[in-house]
């Protein structure tokens, strides 16, 4: 019965987008946490739909039914007044029972969603205006690395993210995996989730954080544990040295034109800490916090005028000749 209700509800709520299962949707759960939340949500939705329908039906009957014949407003029937008083009282008690019941349902769901697993993979996410710093920290500094706007996790294993902020309040939200949690300066929050299947789950900042709040997205990429291990070993390595002359020129320009003041590329002299780490930028799928796909063309457009694509963001427009721009793009694309 409940499965049936649930299917109908899913159908009703998703028909406008039947063609496209969202990559960023609470209705498309891909892990136990988001599944549990959706389950709780459907219970609430079913109760709400019943209550609303009942109210509207009573309202409709109340409006349509044949009325008593008294025509002076104060000619009241004592019996009706008393009976309606009892009905109202009973409905009040029923309301109380329903909300207390729903509170318990909610609490049960909450306990499942926020269950903690000590063996979870831990990574730290630091919110910045308007991008995400992702730190994979290990006991040995040689196995710790930093990336940005792309969070890779192994499937089927619990992941714990520790959430901090470098500036204002942000909120970490990947609806397909779990609910959101704020990143608050001066406070450490954490969130646990598991991805059942491999895939790309889009997330986005959910707390208004300034002019480019709309362009503060990220991707959680779930991959099989083996693949994840290989990826992690690769990320641990320093950046590739440029293979050709143009790339070498790009590396020099990266330092000479000011990029390195803000961006770090491990294994080179570029050690800036203000902007996203670019050590393996060539292997990321998007740039500018999920704003554009990562291609040489979009990367060029971004570097040429970041203020055009994301007005108000903190990356300045640098004066670059077109051949210099080409060299820098060529260099960055090699940083796989």
């Amino acid at each position: 019965m409940r499965v049936w209700v649930r299917r109908v509800l899913v159908l009703c709520m998703t028909w406008p987008l039947a063609a496209c299962a969202g990559r960023q949707s609470a209705l498309d759960p891909q892990g136990p946490q988001s599944g549990q939340i959706l389950h709780t949500l459907f219970i609430f939705l079913a109760v709400a739909a019943m209550v609303w329908t009942a109210v509207v039906i009573v309202l409709g009957i109340g409006m349509l039914r044949r009325k008593r014949s008294a025509d002076r407003p104060l000619d009241l029937h004592q019996a009706f007044e008393e009976r309606s008083g009892r009905v109202i009282l009973a409905l009040g008690i029923a309301t109380t029972v329903i909300v207390l019941g729903l509170s318990l349902v909610s609490y049960a769901g909450q306990r499942t969603v926020f269950v903690k697993d000590e063996k979870a993979h831990t990574l730290k996410i630091i919110g910045h205006q308007w991008w995400w710093e992702v730190r994979y920290e290990a006991d040995s500094p040689h196995q710790s690395f930093v990336t940005a706007n792309e969070i890779r996790i192994p499937t089927g294993q619990p992941v714990k993210v520790e959430l901090e902020s470098a500036d204002v309040i942000h909120s970490f939200w990947v609806p397909s995996l779990t609910g959101k949690m704020d990143l608050i300066p001066g406070q450490k929050n954490e969130l646990q989730f598991t991805a059942k299947n491999a895939g790309v789950y889009r997330g986005q900042c959910a707390e208004f954080c300034g002019i480019q709040h709309a362009h503060m997205a990220f991707a959680v990429i779930a991959m099989s544990p083996d693949e994840f291990g290989r990826w992690r070993d690769h990320e641990n390595q320093s950046a590739n040295s440029p293979a050709d002359q143009l790339g070498k020129q790009g590396e020099a320009l990266f330092r000479g034109r000011g990029c390195a003041l803000c961006h770090n590329i491990s294994g080179t002299l570029a050690g800036g800490q203000l902007g996203p780490d670019l050590t393996h930028i060539g292997s990321r799928t998007t740039i500018a916090a999920g704003t554009l796909p990562n291609t040489p063309a979009t990367l060029g457009a971004w570097i040429a005028d970041p203020q055009h694509i994301k007005p108000g963001n903190l990356m300045p427009k640098m004066p670059l000749q077109s051949d210099e721009l080409i060299a820098i793009i060529h260099y960055l694309e090699q940083l796989k």
């Binding site: 709520m13 406008p16 987008l17 969202g22 960023q24 949707s25 609470a26 209705l27 988001s34 709780t40 949500l41 609430f44 939705l45 709400a48 209550v51 609303w52 109210v55 509207v56 309202l59 109340g62 409006m63 039914r65 009325k67 025509d71 407003p73 104060l74 009241l76 309606s84 008083g85 009905v87 109202i88 409905l91 309301t95 109380t96 909300v99 509170s103 909610s106 609490y107 769901g109 909450q110 306990r111 204002v168 309040i169 609910g179 959101k180 949690m181 704020d182 300066p185 406070q187 986005q204 900042c205 959910a206 707390e207 208004f208 300034g210 002019i211 709040h213 709309a214 007005p311 108000g312």
Partner: protein, 637 residues
């Protein structure tokens, strides 16, 4: 003049009929000319200004809403820049909450409560005038700043540290915080007046259980204002201090905490919702009784529900903070307390349904809006039960689901009753009926437009659309529902344009209303439309909860107040027994001057702390002028 030769002797019991009306009108009328207009202390004059000003802000806030809907109608539109959009959504929220919703409800109370309790003017009429000027100046300050591109852009909730000096170095956040101060002062003043008017100025015989439900609702609201506003006052003042003189209330690096702001803000912010909604319920009760042609069933239940709602509303602010990393059990308790408020709200709905069930409804425009209210508000209340649940809230918090939810609650719960109230009380205020034909169009456009605009937002939130984004990319699959929503918003906006047309047309051409066009039962309908300056020639005596239905022929009255100077009758708190005749203040220019001095002080103090020093003496001078003893006669038993 012969009258001046024998001061304070002429009582209203020695005059009759036209003579009495003319004499009282002379005593109570607002002086003519523009100076007279600036000196007005008549609650009806001030109330009318308050209502019109609040509706002007509704219009402005509504235009901003349409701008946002145009921007969001499709992906990656460039109709508004990111910076402009952030200002626009901040201005929309701030205008609607602080300059429209709360003031318009208080404005109706200022106009109606003295009439409904059967007295000649509101308590503290000069404070009332001061309150209006502060509201007007605060609203103008915000909007003029916006037009000069210094409009706040940090959200109507202005979370720190985004609104701190470090992240908002311009004056934008100060403008927001100081606008709050203006509206707080205005709202607190009205709250005090309402409480005193209801407690002390009721007509003889209007015992606590004969007070009209609308007045009860406004009384509870006034108490909510008095307890909730100090919290935001502390919050906004300490924000200004952080920004101006480098205090560290919200700076986590030196012992402050950003969450302190959220607690203070929502300790005000959640009751704020009920400050807007409870007057709406009062309007519903008033309209429903009149058009269902019978008193509201369960009068004590409705009142106890109002009071319970008032208390509970202070115990659930934390549900705005479920995703800030609070302890789980604590959060769960706030789930339960948040849901519990459904009980008193539900009880009121049941009472109204029963009233309609037993009544003989007359389907005029005000009643249509009440029915629309029930349908929309119940849905909003139920989605409120959903967002009260911690796990559900972690998904829908700060998404369009919440946008849908609170527009269902606030527009459904307050604006629909309010528009119904406009249709209901317009004849009393203007003396002419609004067009019924346009009213029906108005209702159906509003009802359909509202639902088309806001229902899709529930789904948008669930499929991942966060709030406060100025744009979204085409691959997010949000475009169709957003376009639908924008279309609905235009229809909804059209319904307000129609209301405006109706008001302008009916002011000139509307059918004359007469004293009591709806055959309603409460005292405001016992006087002419619009009411004379003195409200009632003789103070009515109340012997029934529905006085005009019980004594349809002639209302009993009490005589003995001065016809020579402004006097009101004070009665006891519970039993409303006559106690004392008290002087009611004459028109005065000082409230306006005091408001101007306060405005200079407030605006100056966002630029320099020294304004506190040089801004105070002018305020002191105006207050001394205001309270300068005039040698009026002592109050008499």
């Amino acid at each position: 003049m012969s009258i001046a030769a024998e001061p304070n002797d002429l009582r209203d019991d020695v005059l009759n009929g036209l003579q009495l009306s003319t004499q009282l009108e002379r005593v109570w009328r607002t002086p003519s000319g523009w100076m007279g207009a600036l000196m007005a202390v008549d609650h009806k004059v001030v109330g009318r200004r308050y209502i019109v000003t609040a509706f002007v802000f509704l219009l402005l806030g509504g235009i901003l809403a349409v701008l946002m809907r145009v921007q969001l109608a499709g992906p990656e539109k460039t109709f508004l820049s990111a910076d402009k959009y952030n200002q626009v959504f901040t201005m929309h929220g701030s205008t609607m909450m602080f300059l429209f919703a709360v003031p318009v409800m208080e404005a109706f109370a200022v106009y109606l409560v003295p009439l409904m309790v059967g007295t000649r003017n509101i308590a503290f009429p000069r404070l009332n005038a001061f309150s209006y000027w502060m509201f007007l100046f605060g609203g103008c300050f915000l909007w003029i700043s916006f037009l000069f591109n210094v409009g706040p852009d940090v959200g109507w909730f202005s979370y720190v540290p985004l609104s701190s000096l470090q992240f908002t170095p311009t004056k934008r956040a100060d403008v927001w915080a100081q606008m709050i101060t203006f509206t707080e002062v205005a709202a607190l003043a009205v709250a005090v007046e309402i409480v005193v008017t209801v407690f002390k100025l009721r007509a003889p015989g209007m015992t606590l259980d004969r007070i009209p439900l609308f007045v009860w609702a406004m009384l509870v609201t006034a108490f909510l204002v008095m307890f909730a506003m100090p919290s935001i006052m502390v919050a906004s003042t300490s924000l200004i201090l952080d920004r101006l003189v480098n205090t560290r209330f919200y700076d986590s690096s030196s012992g402050g905490h950003p969450l302190l702001w959220q607690h203070l803000f929502w300790f005000f912010g959640h009751p704020e919702v009920y400050i807007i909604f409870i007057p709406g319920t009062g309007m519903v009760s008033a309209i429903l009784a009149t058009f269902a042609r019978r008193p509201v069933i369960g009068y004590p239940v409705v009142i106890l529900s109002l009071i319970a709602t008032g208390f509970l509303s202070f115990g659930l602010w934390v549900h705005h903070m479920f995703v800030t990393g609070l302890p789980q059990l604590g959060a769960a308790l706030f789930t339960a307390s948040s849901m519990l408020i459904a009980v008193p709200s539900g009880l009121q709905i049941f009472c109204w349904l029963a009233t309609l069930w037993d009544g003989r409804p007359v389907y005029r425009t005000p009643l249509l809006f009440v029915i629309g209210f029930i349908v929309i508000f119940v849905l909003g209340g139920l989605s409120g039960v959903m967002v009260a649940s911690v796990p559900i809230d972690t998904q829908v918090h700060d998404t369009y689901f919440v946008v849908a939810h609170f527009h269902y609650v606030l527009i459904g719960g307050a604006v629909f009753p309010l528009i119904g109230a406009v249709y209901y009380w317009f004849p009393k205020i203007a003396g002419r009926m609004l067009s019924e034909r346009l009213g029906r169009w108005n209702f159906w456009l509003a009802f359909i437009g509202f639902n088309v605009a806001f229902f899709p937002m529930h789904i948008l939130g669930l499929i991942g659309m966060p709030r406060r984004v100025y744009t979204y990319t085409a691959d997010m699959d949000w475009a169709h529902l957003n376009l639908l929503s924008s279309g609905g918003a235009l229809i909804f906006a059209l319904s307000f344009a129609l209301l405006l047309v109706n008001v302008i047309y009916s002011l000139r051409k509307g059918e004359l209303a007469g004293d009591n066009p709806w055959d309603a039962s409460t005292l405001e309908w016992a006087t002419s439309s619009p009411p004379p300056p003195q409200n009632f020639d003789r103070i009515p005596v109340v012997k029934h909860r529905d006085p005009l239905w019980a004594d349809s022929e002639s209302l009993p009255v009490v005589a003995g107040l001065s016809a020579e100077r402004r006097e009101v009758l004070l009665t006891s708190l519970a039993e409303a027994e006559p106690q004392i005749r008290e002087a009611s203040p004459e028109p005065s220019i000082w409230p306006l001057l005091a408001a101007i001095a306060t405005t200079i002080f407030f605006i100056g103090s966002i630029f320099t702390p020294w304004a506190v020093l040089w801004g105070t003496p002018p305020m002191a001078v105006t207050l001394i002028g205001w309270f300068w003893p005039t040698g009026s006669k002592e109050d008499e038993e």
